[in-house]
Amino acid sequence: MSALPLLAALLAEALPGLTLRDWSLPAGDLLPWLPSVRAGIADPAALEPGERALLAGFRQRGEPLLGLDPIADAAADPAWEAAERLVWGAEGEPGALVLLRGRAGPLPEEIARIKLILGVRTAPESFELLLPAARLPALFERLRASAHSLAGPGWEAGGRALTPRLASLGLLAPIGAPLPVGRPDPVGLPQDLPEPAVLGGQARARLLLGALPAGTRLRLRFAGAEPGPVALLLDGLRQPTTAEAGGWLAARTASGSGQAAVLGLAWPGNAPAGLRLASIEVGG
């Protein structure tokens, strides 16, 4: 089990209105777990040609993925004007908090760190949140309160501020405990549709879901029309699906390659007029 759903839930609870830039593609670690993630590639030169061509085909709210088009990257991004901004998978941007896996190296005087120990009790994962030292007390308290709010029976949650520049917080689930479900916004996900989440009249569509462990449950719900004989593909290969109560179409990821999972939808002919993708759920 990955601790990322828990990390995302903790951030969403503690930082309402958070905007996040996930620079970890081709993995896309946090993309599936938060609704307002802008995806990017920190090192596009390292992409192999096929992966670069694949990622270049996606648009997120009409824009290319960050890191692939310097001109588009330099354009104003109203979403990035949010009060609380967070960067994952890159060194940071002015005014934004930085979240990373493992441990950051030495930090300047004015930067503090909150160590986050998250996941299942038998396999905890370690992250660090880097922030201005002046913000540590307030932000740590919000995170601690959120951890207690998320914790269920049998969970361990708690932490403390050790110095003005260092705090530590743990949130550990017992084995088998249900973890938070990710609900990425179908309109906000990177995709190759001419109009985000609008499927009607299209023969096929690709959406970039982000990193999903093998066997992750995926559920889709459509609106606007009956979806008809839709085929669901993950990472380019057709998967068996089941219809679930409430109009959900469910499948499971076959392999966790470490690269962002790509959801494909295809119809013989075209998707019915008016059809759109209304909801996506991952995990659970």
Partner: protein, 463 residues
């Protein structure tokens, strides 16, 4: 459980695409499945792959653990645009069903610069004159399709190339040089899986009378299949019945209407019935660039007497297995041959039997699949030739000097503008922008990057 067979990706159209290469690919995939764990990269994600073969989105094919086993099926029509694009990202063995490829490039939106570069690569001297219409006026003539094959890029990017005739292999070597074509192998066209229908049963299903002499042409009636010759030949042979088992271009349909029965595109079983029922399968080509014919393979397999043009790949077929028609003879030679066949049933039977023997010996699916496996395995560790580096010119940021340096050059070119950053910043503030401040108007700027020793510009020049 892990599959003991190594993985293999085949890229190409599959049924229900109305494309002979789709049928070919499906047949070959089925046979290769015995040896490999096959995936089929197909633009139609819902295409009909043989049992046990999984269709994969070509955009994600690079993520499969293929171990260097990739087989591209490339033909000269827009159904193969995704194969060409995939080859550029995922090198492998290419089956070049038609060495032409100009129509593929033109019909799939390839950049004019790419097409012109391919023409220059194929025939530099011819390109100077015969590419003029495209270069200067933006249109392509039919002659271009014969003069320029545009297979140069495929030769460079592939780990091996398979063609179906020695003619095609020789043509590639003569056009592009022996070294560029050193990795070309010849594997004959394959026979479709399963037996063709019995002649009598097929004729009964189609309502062909015992005494009727049935001439069949088949497939999409492109101009090179010379249905005009067939039409002229059969005007003098009113007792013969002619069925065209396939589609025809709209311009040709009215001309055929009074003489031929045109079925339109047929599913495999119906197509096989028509071919098996025929007293003569006429499969002409002129001009030919060395393309192969699945229709002819079916005709040979069925034991149907086949008449072909004595040219290109067809000229390589044994004289006893098919009836070769001289190109110079045109409709007259065809009419004489058909009349002779009608008058000699024993000759028809001998011709059909010899054709079937040849096909079973040389074109059996299992034999062909084994030869493909040999090529695929041999090519695994052979990297594709590195693409040629564009010429690098080191120049000062002087527009007139750059124009002189570029004069007479054509195609891709790389300029290193050696200057202090400050002077380049000044140039970039010119009202028309940096490219116009440095480059002649005909130069197309493709990429810009900054290096410690200057500004690197990748450009493309016409011509």
């Amino acid at each position: 459980m892990e599959s003991p067979r190594p993985p293999l990706l085949m890229a190409g159209p599959l049924p229900p695409a109305r494309n002979g290469i789709a049928d070919y690919a499906a047949a070959l995939l089925g046979a290769l499945s015995a040896e490999y764990d096959c995936f089929a990269a197909c633009e139609d994600w819902l295409a009909e792959a043989p049992p046990g073969v999984r269709v994969v989105d070509p955009a994600l094919a690079h993520r499969l653990p293929l171990g260097g086993r990739v087989l591209h099926q490339l033909g000269n029509n827009p159904d193969h645009g995704f194969v060409l694009r995939l080859l550029r990202r995922l090198p492998g063995v290419v089956v070049l069903h038609d060495p032409g490829l100009l129509h593929l490039h033109e019909s799939t939106g390839e950049a004019r610069e790419t097409i012109l570069a391919g023409m220059r690569h194929a025939a530099p001297r011819l390109a100077a004159t015969y590419a003029r219409h495209l270069r200067e006026e933006g249109f392509s003539t039919r002659a271009n399709h014969l003069l320029f094959d545009l297979a140069g890029e495929v030769l460079v990017r592939s780990t091996a190339v398979v063609v179906h005739s020695r003619f095609a292999a020789r043509r590639l070597a003569l056009t592009h040089g022996a070294a560029a074509a050193a990795h070309v192998a010849v594997i004959p066209h394959l026979l479709p899986p399963g037996p063709l229908p019995d002649r009598a049963a097929a004729r009964a299903r189609l309502g062909i009378g015992e005494g009727e002499f049935l001439v069949v042409t088949a497939g999409f009636a492109a101009a090179a299949k010379r249905l005009d010759w067939v039409l002229a030949a059969l005007e003098g042979l009113p007792g013969m019945r002619w069925i065209h088992a396939g589609g025809v271009p709209p311009a040709l349909a009215p001309r055929l209407a009074g003489r031929a029965q045109v079925t339109g595109h047929l599913e495999e079983a119906a197509l096989a019935d028509h071919i098996a029922a025929a007293d003569a399968l006429v499969n002409l080509r002129f001009p030919s660039l060395g393309e192969s014919s699945g229709i002819l393979a079916r005709g040979l397999a069925a034991g149907t007497p086949c008449l072909v043009s004595d040219t290109a790949a067809y000229a390589e077929l044994p004289r006893e297995a098919v009836l070769h028609l001289p190109l110079a003879g045109g409709a007259v030679a065809l009419a004489e041959a058909l009349a002779a066949l009608r008058a000699a049933p024993e000759r028809r039977a001998a011709l059909g039997a010899a054709g079937r023997r040849h096909a079973e010996a040389e074109m059996a699916l299992s034999v062909i699949a084994a030869r493909y496996a040999e090529v695929i395995e041999a090519a695994r560790d052979r990297p594709p030739a590195p693409p040629p580096e564009p010429v690098l010119l080191r120049l000062r940021p002087d527009r007139a000097g750059i124009a002189v340096a570029l004069s007479g050059r054509a195609g891709p070119c790389r300029l290193l503008i050696e200057a202090e950053p400050a002077s380049l910043v000044t140039l970039s503030l010119a009202p028309e922008g940096l490219p116009a401040a440095l480059l002649p108007p005909e130069a197309l700027l493709r990429a810009v990057s900054w290096r410690p020793d200057g500004l690197l510009l990748d450009i493309s020049l016409p011509g």
